[in-house]
């Protein structure tokens, strides 16, 4: 089967039961998506499937045929992703940095659905992403900064 990742098609060589995480990391050399727990408990492996944040460590590749996968390597092509990456750098968010790709992916899904998130929105969207270094206050600040600086597109997402 084929996988559509960051707008490119990749032919799959791993078994269908293989979690997307290990296909990305071990087969495709896309190591920006991190392994942290293997049980969807820490968020280090967060990617987007059809725009939704999911944990790549528990999603078998066989379930992803025809779906659009976006990873940290591709999120900078989106408006929220770019704004978040710039905010992360401007506020010196990372310490060790290992969890930050997953943090940015969760935050990007949040900003895609909620352009001006409240603190509670941020808590809800980010509670699944652990940062052992304790960069949470800066992550919160960076999400708010990115939200303010994101290009205001046609925000016709009144549903939220």
């Amino acid at each position: 089967m084929d996988l559509l990742i960051n707008g490119k098609t990749f032919q799959l060589s791993a078994g269908g039961d293989t979690p997307l995480l290990w296909v990305l990391r071990d087969h495709l050399g896309m190591t920006g998506t991190k392994f942290g727990c293997g049980m969807a408990l820490c968020g280090a492996c967060t990617v987007h499937v059809d725009g939704k944040a999911i944990r790549a460590c528990v999603v078998s590749v066989s379930s992803l045929a025809g779906k659009k996968i976006t990873t940290i390597e591709g999120i900078g092509e989106t408006a929220p992703g770019e704004a978040l990456q710039q905010a992360w750098v401007a506020l010196n968010v990372p310490q060790c940095g290992y969890c930050q790709a997953g943090q940015i992916m969760s935050a990007a899904a949040l900003l895609a659905s909620s352009s001006q998130p409240t603190d509670l929105d941020i808590d809800a969207a980010m509670a699944g992403n652990i940062c052992r270094c304790g960069t949470y206050p800066r992550i919160r600040a960076a999400i708010k900064r990115a939200a303010l600086r994101m290009p205001k597109l046609d925000l016709v997402e009144g549903a939220k």
């Binding site: 290990w22 920006g32 727990c37 010196n92 060790c96 509670a127």
Partner: protein
């Protein structure tokens, strides 16, 4: 057999000497005592300030600065090069940072632990930059044929003001590199007023953009052509052996390449791998599936009965009997018998796990008898030497590439995972093999933070003044990981807030009864300061409450008059490896952080019902920290932590921005261990498997407002203190003191978990 005997000796000398284990083992104590060296001089391989080693300048003027310490989030890949760049007068936008491989003879000590990279290398790195700048100035003077005194370096160029001539560093690099390195005492260092980057905190992170875009390379991201992937089933107990392995089913799984045994020397832990069964496969997932299919019987050995609840009872029993006296002044027993009130309390702190977000992982390959390792290691040279030892080759034939570390906190000072990768690669004829630890592996087989019972007794006189103080600390020692179990805390452990109690108490006794180690105990960020500070700072708050005094006022009064305390006068022979003359304990600095933290937190303000402020202060890693935690405890006993104020004095700050971030992170880590951090053993096995049973703080639980107050100083003659660790120790006691203020409930056992829950 000498091959097996020598690692422990090397580890003794390198690791324990570095930590001040001066009298740990009789056979090496004389050797170690002979050298009374402090700071970087006292570390294995000392330091280097050679610009030819640390600085390279290209023809285009790009300045490449080598970082020889490991980056694990503390900011060393930004902080160390900016020191060099400052003295070098380099334009930071034209500076590139590169990571040194393991080679201490070349770079000086590389152990990235003990909160000492900056304080040990600030002066050498300044000299390194100044020497390089001087060589560029000399080269320009030669080109123009003018006296060197007429030229000066500024903003990446050398200028001859008299003639208005100017040459970029790129144009001078080749000529400068051929000049002799100027003598140390001839170097002209900047005055602090001239600093461009030092002390400013405006330098962007060296790896910021790479991290934000997923390009940053950690150990677990290492790749090599033809690489295989491995996971290992390890003995659940220290000293356990494989009784039998049935790998039939595992070997049937497509992609499983090989199943192999790893033996271990059962006598002591050291940094060697635990006994285990390795599964080598075509990808990590297949390796994990292969491991799941193994049928292994373990001979669990003498630690197979280790049980946290019965061990706690043992520690409590020991803590209630007299133990080895570490420090005694005045007459504790006499003063206690005459005291108006006697107070006693006992505190328990369990094992905790580092749980670095990047679990241990390493890649190794062997070509023509030479081994290459890629590892997220805090101890590059130890990794190199231990890999060499286990392969039976010389360290010169081992190259350790130091990657970024996805968290360290002391776990990655122990290179067992890198040795595993090398042994597996050898088994595969030298093919590259990457070993990945799952989270379960990480939590089951950590080098755990110690477990302890802290027993305190005090007497108050009629005015509520402390007239007698006794502290018994019982905890297995890290030293047991490296040799015969000393059963007592080592000098570097008692020197972390136990023996070096800086309060003005006339009748004082500090004891350390015996404790036996049953697992791999290792350094965890701020180490023994965690239990010692928790006990001392909780107990002082308890005494203040008993005396019906304001906690801050009581604490400041106990601190006593302003004085510089010689650590050796308190029996602390270690002093974090620093000279007792250069680094005395300054009670005025401790007082100041207490005053600043309480002022900024508006201590004394009226709090609503169910809310409270809690204070704690601690001296560690030659720095001073005070914290005030604000807490709310609701009717169900649920805790919220809206804000934390931390005041911090580490002397002058090279990169205040990263110091600030270290303190922010230390608050989260301290709260996390206080609320939920606990590893327990039952029948020798760790009971926690992943982040569902070993909980760490998440964003929705973290304080929204962490205010770090760095004590400013413009006096660069004050010696630098550590910054990575000293933020952690006061957090847990400040939280528990706040809970007492909010709810009247005194927490004496960490973690808090559901102790406050009202059903």
């Amino acid at each position: 057999m000498t091959m097996i005997a020598s690692p422990s000796r090397r580890e003794f000398l390198v690791n324990l000497k570095a930590l001040g284990g001066l009298v740990l083992v009789a056979s090496v104590s004389d050797l170690v005592k002979a050298e009374e060296k402090y700071g970087a001089d006292g570390m294995p391989h000392g330091w280097s300030d050679n610009p030819l080693i640390f600085v390279a300048i290209g023809g285009d003027g790009t300045v490449t600065i080598v970082v020889h310490r490991s980056e694990m989030g503390q900011g060393v890949r930004t902080g160390m090069p900016l020191i060099v760049a400052d003295e070098l007068e380099a334009d930071w936008s034209r500076v590139r940072v590169t990571q040194a491989p393991a080679d201490e003879e070349k770079y000086g000590n590389q152990d990235t632990d003990g909160s000492r990279s900056t304080r040990h290398f600030f002066e050498p790195m300044r000299r390194c930059g100044a020497a390089a700048r001087t060589m560029l100035e000399q080269a320009a003077a030669q080109v123009w044929n003018v006296p060197v005194a007429q030229v000066h370096a500024a903003n990446h160029a050398v200028i001859h003001a008299a003639s208005g001539r100017k040459l970029d560093y790129g144009a001078l690099a080749q000529r400068a590199a051929k000049l002799p390195v100027p003598a140390r005492d001839s170097l002209r260092l900047k005055s602090p007023a001239q600093f461009l980057y030092i002390g400013k905190g405006e330098t962007p992170l060296a790896d910021g953009w790479d991290i934000a875009t997923g390009k940053a390379q950690y150990g677990i991201d290492s790749v090599a052509d033809g690489m295989l992937f491995a996971v290992i089933a390890r003995s659940p107990t220290l000293g356990g052996k494989i009784a039998s392995v049935d790998s039939t089913e595992a070997e049937k799984i497509p992609g499983v390449v090989k199943v192999m045994r790893l033996q271990a020397n059962a006598q002591k832990a050291t940094f060697q791998p635990l006994a285990g069964v390795g599964v080598i496969a075509s990808d990590t997932w297949v390796a994990i599936k292969g491991r799941n299919a193994l049928k292994i019987q373990w001979d669990e050995g003498p630690n197979g009965s280790y049980d946290s609840s019965s061990y706690r009872a043992e520690l409590e029993h020991a803590a209630r009997q007299p133990g080895k006296v570490l420090r005694s002044s005045g007459d504790f027993d006499g003063a206690l018998s005459k005291a108006s009130r006697k107070i006693q309390a006992e505190y328990y702190l369990p094992h905790i796990a580092h749980a670095t977000m990047e679990p241990p992982a390493a890649l190794a390959r062997i070509v023509d008898g030479r081994c290459e390792v890629w590892a997220p290691t805090q101890a590059p040279q130890v990794t190199r030497e231990d890999v060499a030892l286990h392969l039976g080759i010389s360290p010169e034939n081992v190259t350790v590439h130091v990657t970024l570390l996805g968290g360290g906190f002391g776990r990655k000072s122990k290179p067992d995972f890198a040795i595993e990768a090398a042994l597996l690669s050898r088994e595969m004829g030298g093919k590259p093999v990457k070993v990945v630890w799952t989270r379960e592996d990480d939590l089951h087989h950590d080098f755990f933070h110690t477990v302890s019972v802290e027993h305190l007794e005090a007497g108050l006189d009629a005015q509520g003044k402390v007239v007698a103080w006794m502290h018994r600390s019982v905890a297995p020692s890290i030293a047991a990981t490296f040799g015969p179990d000393p059963k007592h805390e080592a000098p570097f452990e008692v020197g972390m807030g136990l023996i070096n109690l800086p309060y003005k108490i006339d009748n004082l006794r500090i004891e350390n009864p015996e404790a036996t180690s049953h697992t791999r105990v290792g350094w965890f960020r701020s180490v023994s300061n965690i239990p010692h500070a928790f006990a001392v700072q909780s107990f002082i708050a308890e005494l203040a409450a008993a005396a019906n005094r304001d906690h801050r006022d009581f604490l400041l009064e106990l601190l006593g008059p302003q004085r510089l305390i010689d650590p050796t006068a308190m029996g602390d022979s270690w002093n974090h490896g620093e000279s007792p003359k250069r680094y005395p304990v300054d009670t005025a600095r401790l007082r100041r952080v207490i005053e600043v933290a309480t002022r900024e937190a508006r201590w004394g303000r009226k709090m609503p019902k169910g809310s409270g402020l809690g204070l704690a202060a601690h001296y560690s890693f030659v720095s001073y920290t005070a914290a005030v935690v604000e807490v709310t405890v609701n009717e169900k006993g649920e805790i919220e932590i809206p804000s934390v104020d931390v005041a911090f004095d580490c002397g002058p700050q090279v990169n205040p921005e990263r110091v600030r971030s270290q303190l922010e992170g230390a608050v989260i880590m301290g709260l996390s261990l206080a609320l939920t951090g606990e590893i327990t053993f039952r029948r020798g096995h760790v009971q926690q498997d992943n982040f569902n049973s070993y909980r760490v703080m998440r964003m929705n639980e973290a304080p929204r407002d962490i205010r770090v107050h760095l004590l400013p100083t413009s006096d660069w003659s004050i010696p630098l203190g550590g910054a990575g660790e000293p933020g952690v120790p006061p957090i847990a006691p400040a939280l528990c003191n706040a809970i007492f203020a909010a709810s009247g409930k005194r927490i004496r056992q960490i973690p808090i978990k559901d102790q406050l829950r009202r059903v």
